[in-house]
């Protein structure tokens, strides 16, 4: 596949637009000096990712991403930010001063990942894009071949829920407990 064919495919224009949005918002997530702005930039990143999933004909996962991540996880994050009273305005002390080393590690990691995926896949084309995977297929797979991991992951979720409540609950000191018992 040469570059002319690539540009001629309108799906690639959608990819470029969504990809730039995802990367720009992702960059804001890790560089923003404002905690709330970073969390909201993550919303934009995830929305762009859901668009990429639609482009890759994964409709169910795209909407799961919108519902679970944008709907629930981001709200949890905002709760976390507000409760820990993280500085909600601009804060220049949000980052560690030695950014150059972190950038070096991230850059080397990117080169390794990109090089290895280019070596492995070259210009493998996505031929069957445009035929969405039906939710029925995913449902049958989840409750058929993958029923044990499915149940395990739901148990993990339940355990995490109970564990989260237990960890975050405020324990009384022995003195307070004695007072409570007296009343």
């Amino acid at each position: 596949m040469n570059i002319t064919d690539w540009v001629a495919d309108p799906a690639n224009w959608v990819f470029v637009i969504l990809g730039l949005a995802v990367l720009g918002a992702g960059f804001r997530v890790v560089t923003s000096q404002n905690v709330v702005h970073a969390a909201l930039a993550l919303v934009a990143t995830l929305a762009g990712t859901a668009g990429l999933f639609l482009l890759l004909s994964a409709e169910f996962v795209a909407w799961v991403l919108v519902l679970v991540y944008i709907g629930a996880v981001i709200v949890l994050f905002l709760f976390g930010i507000m409760i820990t009273r993280a500085p909600t305005g601009r804060d220049t002390a949000l980052d560690h001063p030695r950014k150059a080393w972190a950038a070096l590690v991230a850059g080397v990691l990117f080169v390794v990942l990109a090089w290895s995926s280019i070596q492995a896949f070259g210009v493998t084309e996505l031929t069957q894009v445009g035929e969405p995977t039906s939710t029925e297929t995913i449902g049958l797979s989840l409750l058929g071949r993958y029923v044990v991991p499915f149940e395990a992951v739901s148990f993990v979720l339940l355990a995490a829920l109970i564990g989260g409540i237990t960890i975050a609950r405020k324990d009384l000191t022995p003195l307070e407990e004695a007072e409570k018992g007296a009343v």
Partner: protein
């Protein structure tokens, strides 16, 4: 579309997550960077599924699993951060040096 454009995009997103993980001091921001990395993994899984087109949609099933585990991770992580904040009045990871020799 070729598969590598999605893989390279996911690699950039993963590297951004690593950068944020290393550079952020606030623990909530570290968790945000972890979410970026998990999203990059999900893009990879969905892209591989678009190549394979398996009859059981394996890649998408695993992306759903990753999303579920990520939700559990955020719940537990934020509970731990809340507890640390309550005890130490700070959520900065570089001030949590109690177990550092």
């Amino acid at each position: 579309m070729i598969v590598n454009q999605f893989l390279v995009l996911a690699a950039v997103l993963f590297s951004l997550g690593i950068y944020g993980l290393l550079v952020r001091r606030n623990a909530v921001m570290v968790l945000l960077a972890v979410e970026l990395m998990l999203t990059a993994v999900n893009i990879n899984l969905i892209a591989f599924e678009a190549v394979l087109r398996s009859s059981e949609a394996i890649g998408q099933v695993f992306a759903v699993f990753v999303i579920t585990v990520a939700a559990a991770e955020v719940g537990i992580g934020l509970a731990i951060i809340l507890m640390i904040f309550r005890n130490r009045a700070s959520a900065n990871v570089d001030e949590l040096n109690l177990m550092k020799w």
